[in-house]
Amino acid sequence: MGTLAFDVAHLFAGGLVLISFMLLYQDRMTGLINIFALHAVVLSLSVAWQAYVQHSPHLFLTAAIAIIFKATIIPLSLQRIMVRLRIHRDIEVVGGVGVTMLLGICLVALSLVVILPATAAADPLAREDVAFALSVVLLGLLMMVTRRNAISQVIGFMSLENGLILAATGAKGMPLVVEISVAFSVLIAFIVIGIFLFRIRERFDTVDVQELDRVRGGGR
């Protein structure tokens, strides 16, 4: 059982990392959103598995939140926004895929190197969970750094949050507060982002963040 639980959790977590790589790689808007949905699904699966393993039913709630919000609502609304903004067919240029991939791999390695020795005390399941979670977080950050398009940045951010949830669920018996707070904050975050995108839509014809940067006040 122990090994099985471990293997399954391992599988899901690893899958999450893998999908993060796909996100990093994908340059079509629509494809990006679909992959993010997949990301969320896998996350919810792993959360559910953790809930099952840890016998902590409240985690199922988190899983549900993940599957409902992240896997369904957000992708759909993002699709809508894109259609509204007429950028759903855009192909975003991702500078040097190979380099990005390489960087991502280095990040994964780094996260393993950092976490594994640090968590010698904790049980293996939590260890690799956190390690993968860290790599997901870093990959999400990397995505935010490399993408120029607001939507893909948001997606990067949300994959980052997925990583956080993975870590949170990995940590054994972490009280409910956190999950709720995460979901809550993600919800707020999403709403706010939505508001912003609409406002931005009112002002600009693209959601390109560099457009935003052009109108900065101050400076010289």
Binding site: V114, I115, P117, A118, T119, A120, A121, A122, A126, V130, A133, L134, V137, L141, M144, Q153, F157, L160, E161, G163, L164, A167, A168, A171, K172, G173, M174, P175, V177, V178, S181, V182, F184, S185, I188, A189, V192, I193, F196, R199, I200, R203, V209, L212, D213, V215, R216, G217, G218, G219, R220
Partner: protein
């Protein structure tokens, strides 16, 4: 004080929450602003009451010497700022920069931000604290964007993205802390509750704590506005309404700093973990010197003082990084003084920008001649923030620099250098602003100068005569910080 039906602690949370709800449904600027003022005042009173009656810590809230300092300070500034914003927003409505609906929104957000901050400060639970800080971020984001100008939106967007990333990193750190505590304290709340965490910190896995601290430092450091995570700060200060700039500098940064301090104490309590000092010192010096140089090229008056906030946050972080009774005392004192002074400066700046109809430094001249009260107020504020006696900032800078030089001369040199660079820039600007041929001004504003001079008077008083109780109290806290 125990005669109250509600514990002051609860009141600190309930009052803002309730008034936020009420304000969300009320319109009419006079009424709402007055309610805003009253509830902030009440909150401040309860915060003061906290000095006398302290509830026992539970799993969610607790009060100790450290966070009482922050609570009293932030509620006070929240109070004065609400008094100030009454006149400021009034003027904004007259000139039509804000619509009444916005004002309703504004006041509701103001109160909910106060709620979030008090929650963050009083939370006994690292998770709860995180939630509160996140919430505070969101509210301030909305207020920064309230003018809906492209610049405002861009500032808010930037603030939001960077802030949420920082928050996310902080959450990861929080989780790691839990993980390090969990083997010792077992699953459940104990592993997230400050009081128990502090008690058993020595037993936690040091390496995990190190990793956690990196995340927490960067995460909450983003909210503190430390270089290189500072980018949101100047724009957010510059584009939001001035009361919000005052609150950001006077409160939000402190709250984030409070979180950092808490975790620093946690690490300090664990002998095997790396000392958090060097990291804080490095970030502090970087912020100080970087901001000092950035001050020279600013042409927007609010950005100027935003950068000066970064500079001072750097000094404070440096002081806490140095540690030791003197430096910690200095850090606390400096934080208090900076909050008071900087918000006072923003009070002045807001009205100045209103009467001059611009925020461009180049177009503001000769204030001491055209508007003596505001002008001299600004000069006094800048002299105070630049650390000139008899104002209180001097005392803290005196302690920081001298004690640092006595212990680590090589660290004191860059510190002094940064102070001098920043001072040069501020002096250059304030001479340009306050002296010379006055530039033409647009209309008058019934400035509410009471908060401005109240703050300055406090800073002056504490610079000359630090009330013994306060001193003792700060010394205890400094002792706690180790």
């Amino acid at each position: 004080m125990n005669g109250f039906a509600v514990q002051p602690v609860d009141a600190l949370l309930i009052i803002p929450a309730l008034s936020a709800l009420i304000l969300a449904f009320l319109s009419g600027y006079r009424l709402t602003s007055r309610i805003n003022l009253i509830s902030s005042g009440a909150v401040f009173l309860f915060a003061v009451a906290l000095l006398f009656s302290r509830p026992a810590a539970d799993n969610y809230l607790f009060v100790d010497d450290l966070n009482v300092v922050f609570v009293v300070l932030s509620t006070f500034i929240g109070f004065t700022t609400s008094a100030y914003s009454a006149s400021y927003i009034g003027h904004e409505i007259e000139v039509g920069k804000l619509k009444p609906t916005h004002v309703r929104f504004y006041h509701a957000m103001y109160q909910s931000m106060m709620f979030a901050m008090n929650l963050a400060l009083l939370a006994n639970n690292i998770g709860l604290m995180w939630v509160a800080i996140e919430f505070a971020t969101l509210t301030t984001v909305l207020m920064v964007g309230i003018y809906r100008t492209p610049e405002a939106l861009e500032a808010a967007w930037k603030y939001f993205i960077l802030g949420s990333v920082g928050i996310a990193l902080a959450l990861f750190g929080t989780i790691l802390v839990y993980m390090s505590a969990e083997p010792v304290l077992g699953e459940g709340y104990d592993a997230m509750v400050w009081t128990s965490l502090m008690r058993h910190a020595a037993a936690f896995s040091p390496r995990l704590l190190n990793v956690a601290f990196v995340f927490l430092m960067l995460g909450y450091g983003t909210k503190v506005g430390l270089v290189p995570m500072h980018a949101w700060l100047p724009d957010a200060h510059a584009e939001g309404p001035t009361p919000i700039s005052a609150v950001l500098s006077g409160l939000l940064l402190n709250v984030a700093l409070y979180a950092v301090l808490r975790f620093k104490m946690l690490l300090a309590a664990n002998a095997a973990a790396i000392a958090p000092g060097p990291l804080m010192i490095a970030l502090g010096l970087a912020s100080l010197i970087f901001a000092g140089f950035m001050l020279y090229r600013r042409d927007d008056i609010k950005r100027l003082f935003a950068y000066s906030s970064i500079e001072h946050m750097g000094i404070i972080t440096f002081a806490f990084g140095m540690g030791g009774p003197l430096a910690n005392f200095a850090g606390l004192l400096h934080m208090t003084m900076h909050s008071l002074t900087k918000s006072a400066i923003f009070f002045a700046v807001g009205h100045i920008a209103q009467v001059k109809g611009t925020q461009k430094i180049a177009n503001i001249r000769g204030l001491t001649e055209s508007h003596p009260v505001l002008g001299w107020g600004l000069v006094a504020g800048v002299m105070a923030i630049a650390g000139l006696p008899p104002f209180g900032v001097f005392m803290s800078e005196f302690l920081v620099v001298s004690s640092t030089f006595a212990r680590q001369p090589l660290l004191a040199i860059p510190l002094a250098f940064g102070l001098l660079v920043a001072f040069g820039a501020l002096l250059l600007r304030v001479i340009g602003l306050a002296f010379g041929e006055p530039s033409d001004s647009f209309g008058e504003v019934e400035a509410s100068i009471v908060p401005l001079f109240l703050h300055l008077a406090l800073v002056l008083l504490m610079g000359i005569w630090l009330e013994p109780h306060i001193a003792v109290w700060f010394q205890n806290v400094a002792g706690m910080l180790g």
